[in-house]
């Protein structure tokens, strides 16, 4: 009886305490991101990038006098799970914004949740064009990732310069693989009409044995291969391709998009990397083009306690950066105002200024491209010269 009275008193007291001023409450950001299974390769470092940004900005007092609080959830790279997590973050954790998702299945699914709840959602990694296609676009969805159109066309520009006519493609049979391959093929045919697509292989997402596909492809005698086999899967694919002499047969006329040339991939393969191929990456610690980038890499290296910090952290970092700048610009944390502030917003990111277009809520995020070489400074292959391909001219 006594205890119950105490409880009631406490409850009443809790209601009597005047609501704390907005200034003291943190701005809550929900981040559904794959943190288990193979996609955690990117999900985890991207989350760390967002965390680093939040720690840094909180140390400076946050925005509008309020600190950020990041709530991460494992979306398991599954659209249904990502939706469930996003709903829970909004309803239970009362997050103010969503920044997150990785695969091209999760992004569009969470976008629908953002639309229903009228909450700003910034997608830092999914590339499928469908995320910001006219019929899917709504006032609350934004993307700071690259797109399949940008990536496919950037690769086509590089392949068009090679002395090759017979080109083949190797991609996973799902949204990202199909979209980026289509963009590549269409653009290549447009800028170099003499090119012939001699073979297209479509292994299932996550394939472990590429030999049958490589054999079938090489039987068609291509002179160049475009691949979008990504992440750890590229390690498996390229090891098997190298063993049967594919890269030699192609005279290294091979381009791997889907971040085949990240420092992480090159590092994990060491001398086994098919040095001489072309590839891309969102970031590379050795790029060091600007003072801002060098500074970012130094801070990240310290934060991750890694001499060669991840190239994926940048996407979580930039996603949060856009959100913080938009809140500042809107002078509010209301999603409606922040969404308006994001339109046309330009942010000085570690990779240079990026702008979110009003037309399709898409940032002009390009990627680093280059031919891989061994550099005596590092125990693995790097892109050299590494070039940031500005995507503005590839965006419709």
């Amino acid at each position: 009886m006594h205890r119950r009275t105490l409880l009631i008193v406490l409850l009443v007291a809790a209601f009597l305490v005047p609501p704390t001023a907005d200034a003291q409450k943190p701005i809550k950001v929900g981040m559904p991101m794959p943190l288990s299974g193979p996609p955690a390769l990117f999900g985890e470092p991207a989350t760390k990038g967002a965390m680093m940004f939040i720690e840094e900005i909180n140390a400076k007092g946050g925005v509008l006098g309020r600190k950020f609080e990041l709530i991460t959830r494992d979306s398991k790279a599954d659209a249904n799970e990502a939706v469930r997590q996003a709903r829970e973050l909004i309803l239970k954790d009362n997050v103010d914004f969503l920044v997150g998702t990785l695969t091209s299945a999760e992004g569009p699914a969470v976008s629908v949740v953002a639309k229903e709840n009228k909450i700003v959602f910034i997608a830092p990694i999914p590339k499928t064009d469908q995320l910001t296609a006219p019929d899917k676009l709504h006032p609350y969805v934004f993307r700071v990732a690259s797109t399949t159109t940008i990536e496919g066309r950037s690769a086509a520009e590089i392949v068009a310069k090679w002395p090759v006519k017979r080109v083949a493609t190797m991609s996973f049979d799902y949204a990202y693989g199909q979209d980026v391959t289509k963009a590549f093929v269409e653009h290549l045919k447009k800028i170099k009409p003499g090119v012939e697509i001699v073979d297209q292989q479509w292994p299932k997402l996550g394939e472990q044995d590429y030999n049958p596909f490589i054999n079938a492809q090489m039987a068609k005698k291509p002179e160049a291969v475009f691949s979008s086999i990504w992440g750890g899967f590229f390690v498996t694919y390229s090891k098997q391709a190298k063993a049967v002499g594919m890269f030699d047969a192609l005279k290294y006329h091979f381009i791997g998009v889907g971040e085949a040339a990240t420092p992480e991939t090159a590092k994990s393969m060491g001398a086994d990397y098919p040095v001489g191929i072309w590839g891309n990456s969102y970031d590379a610690f050795y790029w060091g083009e600007t003072a801002a980038h060098k500074d970012y890499v130094a801070r990240l290296s310290k934060y991750l306690k890694d001499e060669y910090p991840s190239s994926w952290a940048i996407q979580g970092y930039i996603g949060m950066q856009f959100l913080a700048e938009a809140i500042k610009k809107a002078n509010s944390t209301e999603s409606d105002k922040v969404a308006k502030a994001l339109l046309g917003l330009t942010v000085e990111t570690p990779v240079g200024p990026l702008t979110i277009r009003e037309k399709d809520h898409q940032a002009n995020r390009g990627q680093l491209y280059g031919k891989t070489v061994m550099d005596p400074k590092y125990p693995f292959a790097i892109m050299k010269p590494v070039q940031y391909v500005d995507p503005t001219k590839f965006m419709d």
């Binding site: 299932k204 049958p212 063993a243 002499g245 994990s268 086994d272």
Partner: protein, 294 residues
């Protein structure tokens, strides 16, 4: 008509894949055949075998024949882990409801794979091919890597050795008897507990060896355990659960169907494998070489 050199290369890649699947599925089939437990965590042993080998390679390197040391060492580590798991956990499952067995082995798979993630992180790991096998043969216009050939020869060698042990040795007779009637075997004075532990250790060794030997051909990443367990299940379902040569045959069929499937159904070759499995289940639910369960 496809180019003969291509057909040859394709069948070789199918054979390589088949031998790996055999190594893994054999352990799965052995545990089911003798212990009557469907071990969902077997794929995790395969993954841990790859990680253990990677770790040993980090310490020892792959040159000068040391790859073989690391591969066998990795497999032995998994065998030891298997011994502990059987002795302290698995033993409580025998004769229990199948649902409990499945839940337990599934939980074990989740726990072990999370433990692997804590130790080795989420980044992909890669092991180089042993320098003595990095070359390739040029046969009939196709390039066959030495390492693949080694795997193709190793598979039947292990199968044969295994079969000889099962058929010609006293331990083999005990194992076969244990599969048929555990209680009678115990009544005849055989230490069944030790026998079961031995079988589990052997099966774990095979799974670990599969992971160890595959590490030069693939990336070692979290999640490779669940991928392989599905394939291994398909193999044993086609071949017959608990049937030794059935597993071998199932693996061979799986490899070739997948390899040549992409010629006929370029985007649905995995479908061909599952269609085959469904057909086998309809016609012979106990698998090609399996025996109907009571």
């Amino acid at each position: 008509m496809p180019d003969p050199s291509f057909v040859f290369a394709q069948s070789v890649s199918g054979l390589t894949a088949a031998m790996f699947l055999f190594l893994i599925a054999a352990g799965l089939s052995l545990i089911f055949g003798v212990l009557r437990v469907l071990n969902f965590a077997h794929g995790t042993f395969y993954m841990l075998g790859a990680y253990a080998t990677y770790q040993l390679v980090q310490w020892l390197g792959v040159s000068g024949g040391r790859f073989w040391l690391t591969a066998v060492g990795g497999a032995l580590a998994i065998a030891a882990l298997g011994g502990l798991v059987e002795r302290f956990l698995f033993r409580r499952l025998y004769g229990k409801d199948e649902l409990y067995q499945l839940l337990f082995t599934y939980a074990l798979a989740l726990i072990l794979s999370d433990a692997a993630k804590m130790i080795w992180g989420t980044q992909q790991k890669s092991v180089s091919r042993p320098p003595e096998l990095t070359g390739a043969f040029h046969i009939f216009g196709a390039i066959i890597p030495h390492y693949n050939l080694f795997i193709i020869l190793l598979g039947p060698a292990i199968a044969l050795g295994f079969w000889l042990v099962l058929q010609r040795t006293r331990v083999g007779r005990y194992i076969r008897a244990g599969a048929l009637d555990r209680e009678t075997l115990g009544a005849l004075g055989v230490n069944v507990d030790a026998l079961y532990t031995g079988v589990f250790v052997l099966a774990s060794f095979l799974g670990g060896l599969g992971g160890a030997l595959i590490s030069p051909m693939r990336a070692t990443t979290p999640g490779m355990d669940t991928e392989v367990i599905v394939e291994a299940f398909v193999v044993v379902v086609i071949g017959g659960l608990g049937s030794f040569w059935g597993t071998f045959l199932g693996a061979l069929i799986y490899g070739q169907v997948l390899s040549f499937g992409i010629l006929f159904f370029p985007r649905f070759s995995i479908f061909a494998v599952f269609a085959l499995m469904a057909a086998v289940l309809i016609v012979r639910p106990w698998g090609l070489l399996g025996r109907p369960l009571r």
